[in-house]
Assembly symmetry: C3
Homo-oligomer: 130 residues x 3
């Protein structure tokens, strides 16, 4: 996989790449939007707590497909409140480490449950052994 | 295709899977967002009527590519009004039957036409005969 | 790649196809949402100026992957204000020319920076030479 960040474009402004290119036989994982719900169905009220659960849930789905965060090629981060940006960003940056998927951030009117502050959906691809 | 629902994650809370994994040579179908417009360009005013058209339109696109609902791997359901959730869910659940794509639900400010209450976009993949 | 526009579905209502189907070995490009920021990090205040930068940025990312606008298979156009539709559409129609990706238009509450009026994310696929 190759990150694409043409020098004539400003940014990236956060932990993403302007493009992610790859080819060849891959396994695909299409991920449902993950939210801040723990294994017992409980949702913390704060953005940091919810964001940590989003990412641990994503890691669990990826692990079940023998993938890791490094295999995410594109993600959408959905937030409801601009005030939650910094908390979501801090947790995201830690979760991504050096990885840089293509990504988009949207503020929307609401998520499936009124108490949810963040949701992240994603696509991952892992090269098949040749 | 394999549904991924790790036991340590709560849910799925609706008719979706936390992840959908597959590999191998596939045909792809990328679907434009479908809305509640019938073949004559008419849009019913209620969410159930619009949702039924969304799904029959999706089925028509899939059929043209020799695919079915079962080939959808990821979808986004966009709603404008939280009050429309139950109507949209009832129609969706019937349309999906036992199928469980990865999916995300968003409430947004509006769709291309002010009278549209729902839009669903999707990605489908069908294994090529080996 | 084959455009899918079943005769029993109304539309397409704009410069898109109801579906885009393809198979075979392809190179993939997953694109981060592009916004109206020029190479110096400056954002014009009007929708036409921002839209033109969105598309020139997309072209730059595609070019870096040896692709063009014609390789886009699906895109999401995110707008904040319904009043910006016509400006965004004019620029988009020129940028797409005869190309018709699957696409979805959403009005959302906001983008990452308050001054951004439009963002477009996309997926592109280019057949590998056989």
């Amino acid at each position: 996989m190759r990150r694409i960040n043409p020098p004539q474009i400003a940014g990236p402004f956060a932990t993403y790449a302007h493009g992610v290119e790859f080819s060849g036989p891959v396994r695909w994982l299409f991920g449902a939007g993950q939210t801040g719900v723990d294994g017992d169905g409980t949702t913390p009220t704060d953005i940091v707590g919810q964001s940590e659960l989003v990412w641990s849930n994503i890691r669990a789905v990826l692990a079940d497909a023998d993938m890791t965060i490094e295999d995410i090629v594109q993600l959408n981060m959905l937030l409801v409140d601009r005030a939650d940006h910094d908390g979501a960003k801090t947790v995201r940056d830690t979760a991504l480490g050096d990885h840089r998927p293509a990504s988009t951030l949207m503020y929307i009117s609401g998520l499936a449950r009124p108490e949810w502050l963040i949701e992240i959906d994603y696509i991952a691809a892992r090269e098949l052994p040749g």
